[in-house]
Amino acid sequence: MLRIFNKIRKIGVITETVDDERDAAFEEVGEQLRARVGEMFNGSLAIREVDAGSCNGCELEVNALNNAFYDVERFGVHFVASPRHADMLLVTGPVSKHMEAALRRTYDATPDPKLVLAMGDCGADGGEFGCSYASCGGVSNIIPVDGVIRGCPPTPLALMKAILAMIEKRAVEA
């Protein structure tokens, strides 16, 4: 047990180091996000991630948002297990034909008003996989999409910025 505490003490809080450019940028975006989430979502933005056919690259980067470097929960953003608890769907693609019905159902199960962010080049337009007998292409071919973040895959910082931009857009519209 002592070793655990010792290790934790030695590592310290890596989340708040801002000596690195990336961390500083992330911190800044995060603070803006926290302010917006505070105003619009009562302090807590719940995201349901849906893999609708991805290669798993995007999923790894979404997971990275939860590591101690990014720790996205401190800005009020957290990932939930059920679409019924979600304000936002984060959908990776391309939408495979075999996931089409499941994606529609997940969308229907998410309460209004809801936001949909399509992630990755594949989520944007089908990417390397395009449209075929097995792929419906981009997410917007199946459900309404509010924002798109390109990249293969987008970095955690780019993803954070996209979440912020989408909320900002919704704020302007409202």
């Binding site: 290790k7 798993n56 690259g57 059920s82 075999h98 390397e128 007998y133 097995a134 895959p153």
Partner: protein, 528 residues
């Protein structure tokens, strides 16, 4: 044992079992020994191969002219052997390998759905790759099937798949997925349970089938490499390497030494990144959050260096046909080298904490036990095989460049439980760090790419690469225009997904997530 020294004896056994083998039946395809068999001998050849101790490592079909070509790849003493049968397009029927090699089950059903090949004595001829995106009598990989498909209306769910039924007092079913509760890939699991005990688990995959084999047809080598990089995003380096190895073999292209060393450097980095993430995630599934935070921290730092040096956090598209995309230069390599010792130090600090934690041991030891016998029957490689006594590693066994110059230590355990699968990962991280040390020290100078030359019509290639999940086997064949006509990347997950169905028996439902994570099969790599 020298290369193929066992083959004459094996051929004698086949002949003794009345498998028709003429002189011209034994040939070479894709650079390996190939036996051309009569369809009726297909099953008996597998029976003899299984008795003789060959491992079944992949099966796929191809369409050439008015024939369907069925291939099965086996391996013995690290020598590959290709079995091939030519069937008429109108009635492609042949016996199944599944009765002798249960690991062949899903790949044969995949071939059945994609090419319309009938495996006459297959014990379970239900559809596998096919949900509702195409019809029962349509075969997407055949030439006459349009790439855009035939069904353009909204798809319904895969609702009439016939699952195994269980009856009895107190037996209940738990359907899970395709959309899972975590940030992971989609698939369906059907549990039958009594109380907390799992009686049976049946997987239903294919949800992320995105037509990779079909859209590869007609692409040039560079296009297929980009596709290979996205077969399974977490194994992007290993899959691209295997695809390029196959294409380079078909084209007779010699890759510069330095390029192979850079490929190996990236592949070892990929192994370390994924193993780090997995160790943390396994611990997280039994609520040991400390380990998750520590190992995801190490993973993130590791990926940031990959970004700085290779321009991509996963090193995607860095391996290209003929070599690698860009040279890293001396300064960058130094940057990679200085990261090795700190990680080794962290591993030596963290693993004893995990090993001495009694609550962690309570949850991981004996959980999800996979016997060596079952692992061998399915042909499981990677950490799943290595944790259950399967001493298989293509880097050491196949000695492809640059591993012919390196001494690859392969950690093998016999406990077969979640803890052993975690320990294979931690040991492999240390091995990879040693390998990286040597690779970065001894990397030769020189060019990093040979110009790509398209091969002649019909040229075939097979690439075998040991990725972090296990052995990847990739087959390619080129057409007259120098474009790829057939691309089949066989992810190691084909042989570990069915192992998960076995190792969960007798475990409690709440231990499924940690068992699943310890296997960490690729959905995308398997569904294609």
């Amino acid at each position: 044992m020298s290369a193929y020294a066992w083959l004459p004896e094996f051929l004698e056994r086949l002949k003794a079992d009345n498998v028709l083998l003429e002189d011209e039946s034994v040939g070479v395809a894709a650079g390996i020994t190939m036996l051309l068999l009569e369809a009726e001998d297909w099953g008996r050849a597998a029976a003899q191969a299984q008795k003789y101790g060959l491992r079944w490592t992949g099966g796929w079909a191809d369409e050439i002219g008015e024939e369907i070509i069925v291939n099965a790849c086996l391996v013995h003493h690290s020598d590959l052997l290709l079995l091939r049968a030519r069937l008429p397009l109108g009635s492609p029927v042949l016996p199944s390998h599944t009765p002798y090699y249960p690991g062949a089950d899903r790949m044969e059903r995949h071939t059945q759905d994609m090419y319309g090949v009938v495996f006459s004595d297959h014990p379970d001829p239900r559809r596998w790759a096919r949900h509702h995106a195409w019809g029962e009598n349509e075969y997407p990989l055949r030439r006459d099937f349009p790439i855009a498909g035939t069904r353009h209306y909204p798809m319904r769910t895969d609702d009439n798949y016939r699952f195994l039924q269980t009856q009895g007092a107190g037996v209940y079913e738990i359907p899970v997925g395709p959309v899972h509760a975590g940030i992971i890939e989609p698939g369906h699991f059907r549990f039958q349970a009594v109380g907390e005990q799992v009686l049976n688990l049946e997987q239903r995959l294919g949800y992320v089938h995105k037509g990779i084999e079909k859209i590869a047809m007609g692409r040039d080598a560079q296009g297929v490499a980009r596709l290979a990089a996205r077969v399974s995003g977490d194994s992007t380096v290993a899959h691209t390497w295997a695809a390029c190895m196959a294409m380079e073999q078909a084209a007779g292209i010699e890759v510069p030494e330095r390029a192979n060393w850079l490929r190996a450097i990236m592949c070892e980095r990929e192994r370390i990144a994924n193993h780090l993430g997995d160790i943390g995630a396994i611990c997280n599934d039994v609520a040991f959050a400390f380990a998750n935070y520590q190992f995801s921290r190490l993973r993130e730092s590791w990926q940031r260096v990959s970004q700085q040096v290779f321009g991509h956090r996963f090193m995607m598209d860095c391996v290209v046909p003929g070599g690698v995309a860009h040279d890293e230069g001396v300064g960058y390599l130094e940057q990679l080298r200085v990261g090795l010792e700190p990680l080794r130090h962290e591993m030596h600090e963290l693993m004893p904490i995990l090993d001495d934690n009694s609550s962690l041991e309570d949850r991981l030891a004996t959980t999800g036990f996979l016997s060596a016998e079952i692992a061998a029957r399915f042909g499981s490689t990677g950490y799943v095989g290595k944790a259950s006594g399967q001493d298989i590693d293509a880097r050491r066994d196949r000695r492809y460049s640059p591993y012919d110059r390196l001494d690859v230590r392969v950690p093998v355990f016999t406990d077969g439980d979640v803890e052993a699968r975690m320990h294979v990962r931690s040991e492999e991280i240390l091995v990879s760090l040693d390998l990286l040390e040597q690779l970065l020290r001894d990397i030769p100078e020189g060019p990093i790419r040979t110009e790509w030359r398209a091969p002649q019509e019909g040229a075939e290639g097979i690439g075998v690469v040991d990725g972090w999940r296990g052995e990847i086997l990739t087959y390619v064949r080129f057409d007259a225009a120098g474009r790829v006509r057939r691309f089949f990347p066989r992810d190691p997950s084909w042989f570990t997904w069915p192992a998960l169905e076995q190792l969960i028996h007798g475990n409690i439902v709440p231990d499924f997530p940690v068992c699943n994570k310890s296997v960490n099969g690729s959905y995308s790599g398997h569904d294609l």
